[in-house]
């Protein structure tokens, strides 16, 4: 059974957008959306080290290395903040340093081996339908569909299970603390989810689309509603819509799908922005 390629691409994009939209909405509320950008750059040395240490380009090894680096970034930003560094600056220092380290590692040691920097950054969602998950000789369908599906379910599960806690931590950390919620544990839970989502989506859709989908659906939905549950649902829906329209735009213009999905997300945001502004003016 082979799924039609456009369906696979749109489905992978929609799953990536949905997963990112869920965690990204919380980043929007906590004013930490740039962390997605930071983590997506900072995972590079993790990928490079995982490759250098194991010599394998197998997805699980790389994802593990990258996820550890993502968490390290979140932790470093938090630690620097406690040491008195303002959050955005701490982020800037951490991710640029890690990214630089990653580039040095790749060019110095892995230069001759084919570790494609472009692929890491841009991803190639267009190849997703042909990268199949083979168990023995049996094909279980496109690998990206499975990874993104699993990550989407993981994010959904975490958000549903800890909805109240995450909500409190996002809107009023002080009250959350007073109610006995372990705010810092939920901070790291969110950071773990962001890291896993970012890293997992890399292979499938590339860094640009991950960063775009972390902020675009959440920010757009934020302008449309006052309720968190509605906002999350809208974010997932908008992500899926951007994925479908982005694919069509890419087909029409014959350009990169990831870039087109980000642009469509931007257009959707601009429309909502304009609408929200008109509505507010009355």
């Amino acid at each position: 059974m082979a799924l039609p390629a456009p369906f696979v691409i749109i489905a992978v994009g929609a799953l990536a957008a949905g997963a990112s939209g869920l965690v990204g909405s919380f980043l929007v509320l906590r004013r930490m959306t740039m962390l997605g950008d930071a983590i997506s750059h900072a995972v590079l040395p993790g990928i490079a080290l995982a490759f250098l240490l194991t010599g394998s380009r197998a997805a699980p090894v790389m994802v593990l290395g990258a996820a550890l680096c993502g968490l390290l970034t979140a932790y470093a930003v938090q630690t620097l903040q406690r040491a008195g560094v303002q959050e955005d600056a701490g982020m800037g220092v951490t991710f640029t340093a890690l990214f630089a380290l990653g580039v040095v590692l790749i060019t110095a040691f892995a230069g001759r081996v084919h570790l494609d920097l472009d692929h890491v950054l841009y991803g190639e969602i267009a190849y997703a339908p042909w990268d199949l998950w083979l168990v023995g000789d049996v094909s279980l369908g496109p690998r990206a569909l499975w990874t993104m599906g699993a990550i989407f379910l993981l994010d959904l599960l975490a958000v549903v299970l800890f909805f109240k806690e995450l909500k409190f931590c996002a809107f009023d950390p002080a009250t959350a603390e007073a109610l006995g919620i372990n705010v810092s544990a939920f901070h790291y839970l969110l950071m773990t989810l962001v890291s896993i989502t970012t890293v997992g989506a890399f292979d499938a859709v590339g860094a640009i689309l991950v960063v775009a989908m972390l902020v675009l659906p959440g920010a757009t939905a934020y302008l449309l509603t006052e309720r968190l549950s509605t906002m999350l649902a809208l974010a997932v829906g908008l992500g899926a819509l951007a994925s479908v329209l982005g694919y069509l735009l890419a087909r029409i213009t014959d350009t990169a799908v990831a870039g087109a999905m980000a642009v469509v997300g931007g257009v959707l945001f601009a429309l909502v922005f304009w609408w929200a502004r008109r509505r507010r003016r009355g």
């Binding site: 959306t33 955005d88 600056a89 580039v103 960063v211 920010a219 302008l223 350009t255 980000a262």
Partner: protein, 419 residues
């Protein structure tokens, strides 16, 4: 060192200096990540400029980058102004959408005859090693312009960074100044794009400025210091890249800057972590000493009023005052050496006991008195209104007597031993 390396070094040093200076202002405006955003947002400008002019010379490409940067700045301002989204979301939105558009345009460029990516993709990762004399001259002019801009508008930018409302009150056009600062950032980014690339330009705008923040609280010193750090990073990174055959200059510059930041974070006087740890240790030692003196005083006073010898054991201190024997023991030993307490029963006996000397009692009296005044102050804070300090002591003393808390042991009789 060959001539080529010297050119690279002077180019990166100048670039680091200019970025450091402008970065300080961005940092203080809480826009440390603006460089990152603008550097990404420049991509569609570069690609569009190439599509329009078909030229790969820096002139049109940098103009395109600057136009895109200005558009991005405008979009960010509009988003934060006209919606309830905050700065961070505005920055992420502009970054991703512009960059996505840039990738799409690059795809179009790639398919054009003669438009293969080479020459354009170096804007993404930078090619510091390819700096030639002509580039250095461009960098020199742009870096000079940036430093001049900061110098000319020094006072205005200072107000922008620290007290915008006051600046507006003075009748200064703060909105336009903010735009000018953003233009400065765009200029810095455009200057650095070709040599250190998109991501690493963000580092040059953030890291040296942040490192400089640790050494001084004065803007007039922070600006040149950040410039110096940026220049040093440029020189160090270029030198490091000479070590091996495949060492990329741009990332090494960033790592050099990061090293400078880490050293500053740890070792800077006053604000550095080491200095802070020393201060914390000193404060803790002082607090412990005062807690011990107060406890010794209270227990001595109690024993004296019951007619018992004013001897105190470590076990008492732990049981009745919750002081951990782990630090009480060594501290008592030190106080013996400075003549504050004396050992009244030797360690060989089962219960080692201590007693305040006359000198120690006088000091403990002062500590206990202040603590009790504070206690009374907390009870009557509402009536007194003023903050706790020597000024309210006269008001508190009658209250102290009223509550029967006045310390009596060793009062006004320094050097006379325990009563």
């Amino acid at each position: 060192m060959d001539a080529n390396t010297q050119w690279v070094m002077s180019g990166t040093a100048l670039l680091g200096m200019a970025a450091g200076v402008v970065g300080v202002l961005a940092l203080l405006r809480r826009r440390a990540l603006m460089g990152d955003v603008l550097a990404h947002a420049a991509l569609p400008g570069i690609a569009a400029a190439f599509l329009l002019t078909g030229s790969k010379t820096p002139g049109p490409l940098l103009t395109g980058a600057a136009v895109a940067g200005v558009l991005g700045t405008g979009a960010m301002a509009a988003i934060t102004r006209y919606s309830r989204l905050k700065q961070d979301a505005a920055m992420s939105l502009v970054l991703t959408v512009f960059f996505g558009l840039g990738i799409m345009l690059l795809n179009v460029v790639q398919r054009m005859p003669g438009g293969n990516q080479s020459g354009l993709d170096k804007f993404l990762f930078g090619q510091a090693a390819a700096i030639v004399p002509r580039d250095v001259r461009v960098i020199m002019v742009l870096a000079g312009a940036l430093c001049l801009l900061v110098l000319v508008f020094y006072k205005e930018f200072k107000l922008l960074a620290f007290d915008q409302e006051f600046g507006a009150g003075l009748g200064l056009p703060m909105g336009r100044l903010d735009l000018l600062l953003n233009l400065g950032l765009v200029l810095a980014v455009v200057t650095g794009l070709e040599s250190v690339g998109v991501v690493l330009m963000a580092a040059l705008l953030t890291t040296p400025a942040l490192a400089a923040r640790y050494w001084t609280d004065r803007l007039s010193r922070m600006l040149p210091l950040a410039g110096l750090f940026g220049a040093l990073s440029g020189v160090a990174g270029t030198l490091l890249s000479q070590v091996g055959p495949r060492m990329p200059t741009g990332p090494l510059i960033v790592l050099a800057a990061t090293l400078l930041f880490v050293v500053s974070l740890l070792a800077a006087p006053h604000r550095g972590l080491a200095a802070r740890l020393v201060r914390m240790a000193r404060t803790r030692a002082q607090v412990r000493r005062e807690r011990l003196l107060e406890a010794l005083y209270d227990l001595s006073e109690e024993a004296a009023s019951a007619g018992l010898p004013a001897d105190v054991t470590v076990a008492d201190l732990e049981r009745r005052r919750g002081l951990s024997p782990r630090w009480v023991g060594p501290l008592l030993e030190r106080m013996v050496r400075t003549g504050v307490v004396e050992r009244v029963r030797a360690a060989a006996e089962r219960q080692e006991a201590w007693r305040l000397t006359g000198h120690g009692l006088a000091e403990a009296y002062q500590v206990a008195r202040r603590e009790r005044l504070h206690l009374v102050y907390l009870m009557h804070q509402a009536e007194i209104g003023a903050p706790f300090g020597p000024e309210v002591h006269p008001q508190l003393e009658p209250l102290l007597r009223l509550h029967g808390l006045e310390p009596v042991l060793g009062r006004g009789q320094p050097g006379e031993g325990v009563g």
